[in-house]
């Protein structure tokens, strides 16, 4: 049996983990610098593709070609996401059901972007084991529908990974907590990540993890908290500085990153200060935890109804829940913890790092599949009801939500016109009565039906949801016993041919090699310093002597010349030199800003009045 790794493909960060044969415990594989988290960010630069930390550093510099939070677009149609596209700096277009991201003169699909992240994790694992890694368990939010799961599987294929199992994130987390930390009984897993929210209710007994019910929202997470803070800051900047930055992609990325950092600090502290240098002014703002709680209160509140529905679906009351487990970075927010505690009436567990617990659980599931663990069994459910559209657009439910998977349903179909040889089926997922309010999964065309009077053919169609939560359909004409041919037209997915083509093309998006990457990084750092110095000279150039100014200008010119070469060491050296030449200028400006703050006059005004 070949090795199988566990991968958490997150909205904000991704990780890869495995079970250590010696200890029997799951562990995360770090990168060369010892970092466990790989930011799920991909930057398409003229010099090559960057992934993770280096890509994240391109967010402000190249907002139009640096893709983040792509998980929110996976398996989605344009209609699903159009309302939030105005917040994304890169361009997203509708294209044959799915969406595509415009990168210069090329277009990439969300699974291709995710594949670049997966490939980077695959290479990280291969370097760690010093052998090829070809199989993986990949996690998805429990509330992901069929299209979103399929898109995740496609991403694996494009990355050269056989995704042997798709596992739900909250369920994976419960596996990571496992038998050592969970007593037999009912467990609630509350999983609030960067872009998605899930709640799962499980019964744990004698090594069996049986999911009783799951609910959630695949479009709610820490990203939305950041967005609420950014909108508030935009208003504040308009009031205090008289400018609206909402249409400035670079400024918006600065604001988003600063808002995220402030949110994280406020999970540990009551107050924090935000300082963002813009071209024309530097923005300072004191923020209290209460400010952020006021902004995100409605969002946190909206996670509570799914918790109650999941409990009701499981036929349980909050008092039946023995333990509550917190998963996802957003559960570090104190307000979230308070609300979860209120809903379930229990102090939640959080011994395991909420960023790593899903990947650790994926590794456990991988080990089960590889035959390394035989005493644990995971019984998961399908999160959404599966149905077919019938006359008048009404949905007839074949498999209700929260049915344990794998599961199958059989249904009989016939023809309505004499001599009809083709029958169309429309399969949907969701809880609404009308097909148009549900999620369209696919249209199936059953062809090759023998021409007969209407109503005579008996076509038996079997709908099977496998252990990945993905639908498979088979059809048979009962009178002739012939297998009917099925053509699937996925509403929001890639065809097999698309995926095969993307596997071929994926090498064009291969991550730049180490040397190239370091050069891109060096140039990037040079660009950042050049921008900062130009900004500093505009705002505070008058604070230094002409002699000092001359020295800075000279260092500036030298760095510009060095940047044009391919010599990484030279670029580094000149970047450091320019930094040193501007140290004094930075000090003087900081002094001025502090005086401004003390004198209740804004730093930017002081600098502008110089």
């Amino acid at each position: 049996m070949s090795r199988i790794v566990g991968i958490d493909l997150g909205t904000t960060n991704s990780l890869v983990a495995y079970v250590d044969e010696k200890t029997g415990l799951p562990r995360v594989i770090p990168d060369r610098d010892g970092r466990a988290l790989l930011p799920s960010v991909v930057a398409f630069t003229p010099d090559g593709v960057l992934v993770g930390e280096p890509a994240k550093r391109q967010l402000v510099r190249r907002p139009e070609t640096t893709v983040y939070s792509v998980k929110r677009l996976m398996g989605r149609g344009y209609e699903d996401v159009k309302d939030e596209l105005c917040y994304l700096p890169f361009k997203v277009h509708p294209c044959e059901g799915i969406v595509k991201i415009e990168i210069g003169d090329r277009e990439v699909t969300p699974p291709e972007v995710s594949a670049i992240v997966l490939r980077s994790l695959k290479e990280r694992a291969e370097a760690w084991f010093d052998e090829p890694v070809e199989k993986a368990v990949v996690t998805v939010p429990a509330y992901f529908n069929d299209s979103q799961r399929q898109a995740t599987k496609d991403a694996g294929r494009i990355a050269g990974l056989d995704v042997v199992r798709i596992v739900n994130e909250p369920t994976a987390a419960s596996l990571a907590y496992g038998l050592h930390r969970l007593k037999d009984g009912v467990v609630a897993v509350y999983d609030l990540g960067g872009g998605t929210f899930d709640v799962s209710i499980l019964r744990v007994k004698d090594g069996v993890f049986e999911v009783l019910a799951t609910n959630g929202n695949t479009h709610l997470g820490g990203d939305d908290f950041d967005r609420a803070i950014v909108l508030w800051l935009l208003d504040d900047i308009r009031e205090t500085h008289g400018v609206y930055l909402g249409r400035d992609n670079e400024a918006m990325q600065e604001l988003r990153l600063a808002a995220e950092a402030a949110k994280i600090r406020l999970s540990g502290e009551e107050r924090t200060t935000l300082t963002i240098p813009f071209d024309a002014f530097t923005y300072h703002r004191d923020i209290a935890r209460a400010d952020v709680e006021r902004l995100i209160d409605r969002l946190v509140e909206s996670t509570l109804a799914p918790c109650r529905v999941a409990l009701a679906d499981a036929g349980l009351a909050p008092s039946d829940v023995g333990e509550v487990v917190l998963v996802g970075g957003s559960t570090r927010v104190p307000l979230v913890r308070r609300r979860v505690q209120e809903v379930f009436g229990r102090t939640p567990h959080s011994q395991l790092n909420p960023d790593e617990v899903v990947a650790l659980g994926a590794a456990v599931q991988a080990h089960i599949l590889a035959g390394g663990i035989t005493n644990l069994l995971l019984l998961d459910v399908t999160p959404l009801s599966l149905g077919i559209e019938t006359l008048g657009g009404i949905v007839s439910v074949l498999i209700p939500r929260n049915t344990t998977i794998p599961t199958s349903a059989r249904e009989m179909f016939t023809t309505s016109v004499d001599g009809q040889t083709v029958v169309d089926l429309h399969v949907v997922q969701g809880e609404r009565e009308l097909a148009r309010d549900c999620r369209s999964l696919a249209r199936f065309e059953l062809s090759g039906v023998d021409p007969m009077p209407a109503g005579l053919p008996k076509i038996e169609v079997t709908f099977l949801i496998d252990a990945n939560g993905i639908l498979q359909v088979a059809a048979r004409e009962l009178r002739t016993g012939k297998t009917a041919a099925i053509e699937v037209k996925p509403t929001y997915g890639l065809s097999d041919a698309d995926v095969a083509r993307m596997v071929e093309e994926s090498f064009a998006y291969a991550e730049a090699d180490v040397e190239a990457r370091l050069l891109i990084e060096a140039r990037n750092e040079a660009d950042t310093v050049l921008t900062h110095v130009a900004r500093a000279l505009r705002q505070g150039g008058g604070l230094v002597t002409a002699e000092e100014r001359e020295r800075i200008d000279a260092a500036l010119a030298e760095l510009r010349r060095a940047r044009a070469t391919d010599v990484r060491d030279l670029i580094h050296e000149k970047t450091t030199a320019l930094n040193r030449a501007t140290e004094h200028l930075a000090e003087v400006m900081m002094d001025a800003a502090l005086k401004g703050a003390l004198g209740s006059k804004r730093a930017a005004e002081i600098i502008e009045s110089q």
């Binding site: 036929g315 035959g371 035989t374 007839s396 344990t404 599961t407």
Partner: protein
């Protein structure tokens, strides 16, 4: 193979659910695809099929009302869920009362609800909910026991009683859902049994 046969049970409505769960877990350990990942394709397909059958059987039998519903279909030889989506008809003894409630509902839909109308519909809803619970208790209690105890000759009668009670319950559920909707309330607060 019927769902009862999957668990080696007779066609009876009295089921020890703790024992059923124990068997379900044991059979899952045998058939779940997780444990057949490295098996040849044929064996994998078999595991998938058995596992799907097992899950369907457990779902049909674990809940006492779902169990009755399944038994009725099994006894009548209905494999598919034919007619499952038809709106349930009002049982004759409820007709008069339902007529009034339907009228009030129509009014509410047409022109909004004043406080008195709201209170009226709320009281109707609570009364029907009590009746629903009573019907469910009758279904899973005496009617189920009557089926289990009946000799072959008395079975059609016992089955008809179960079927009638299921229809009454389905009808009440629909009207209660309509009332909840008119009142703008979530039905989820009133879930007493696992949905099926």
């Amino acid at each position: 193979m019927s769902h009862f046969e999957v668990f080696g049970l007779p066609r009876r409505l009295a089921v020890d659910t703790a024992e059923l769960r124990r068997k379900f877990y044991a059979l899952s350990r045998r058939w779940h695809p997780d444990f057949h990942q490295a098996a040849p394709a044929g064996a994998q397909a078999r595991a998938l099929e058995e596992s799907a059958r097992l899950n369907a059987a457990y779902r049909a039998l674990r809940d006492p009302i779902a169990r009755v519903d399944y038994l009725v279909r099994l006894e009548e030889g209905r494999e598919t869920r034919e007619g499952a989506d038809q709106k349930p008809k009002a049982p004759p003894e409820l007709l008069a009362e339902m007529f009034e409630i339907q009228e009030a509902l129509e009014e509410a839909k047409a022109g909004g609800l004043d406080d008195a109308g709201r209170r009226g519909l709320g009281a109707d809803r609570d009364r029907l909910l009590a009746r629903l619970h009573a019907e469910e208790a009758r279904l899973t209690g005496p009617l189920s026991a009557a089926w289990d105890a009946s000799a072959a000759a008395a079975r059609p009668q016992a089955l008809a009683a179960l079927k009638q009670a299921l229809a009454t319950r389905a009808y009440l559920r629909t009207v209660i859902d309509d009332l909840n909707e008119a009142l703008g309330e979530q039905a989820d607060g009133h879930v007493t049994h696992r949905r099926h």
